[in-house]
Symmetry: C2
Subunit: 121 residues, 2 copies
């Protein structure tokens, strides 16, 4: 895991912020017109993005970065999380960064254990 | 997307092979004792890994790499796929490579649309 490039710095700062439950600090790294390709579909604009990430950040107990790389424009981060609903919930992101702000994000995670946990509760 | 490092070369060759439906070529890049952390749980050994990846590869119509980086030991690849079951099914992998063979892999993908598609058919 060799951090290289400005996009990765932003991606890791964003990760530290949301996983540390500092949503304001996380959103300070997000462009107002972010387009996020999330598992359930596109999330457009920082308000919708905050509404999408907030609940997940709130239920996240810990994260561990398993791989993180990038160059000046793009970063990819793959991490594990422990959440209040699901004990082992890895996720991955590909982020595009312009002038220190995340303008585009693709998020991959497995919604199935969350759907099962919600159905069981 | 700047390919750097030997792990990424192996990761991309593996990706090209399975997405091109050449499972033999893909498995030639996998260590016999691979440990794969897959969405449904650990998959251990190349036989179990081939049985896990084969059906997914067979249903994959196309893939597009959205981000791929690595160093000498580790690579992270995030990609979109179009499959016969689900039209837009992104996935991500973190791969550890030793002597040109993938010894460890963490795969992230969203099983929910696949579960829904199977339930509907």
């Amino acid at each position: 895991m060799t951090p290289t490039g400005h996009a990765l710095e932003t991606a890791l700062a964003y990760h530290r912020a949301w996983s540390g439950h500092d949503l304001d600090a996380a959103m300070a790294l997000v462009a107002p017109d972010i387009v996020c390709d999330a598992p359930a579909g596109p999330v457009e604009g920082i308000d919708a993005f905050r509404a999408f990430m907030g609940p997940f950040a709130a239920m996240t107990l810990r994260t561990e970065i398993l791989g993180a790389f990038g160059d000046d424009e793009t970063a990819v981060v793959l991490y594990d999380t422990t959440t209040t609903l699901v004990a082992h919930a890895p996720g991955a992101e590909r982020l595009r960064v312009v002038d220190g702000l995340i303008v585009r994000m693709t998020i991959v995670f497995d919604r199935l254990p969350f759907a099962r946990a919600r159905a069981a509760s």
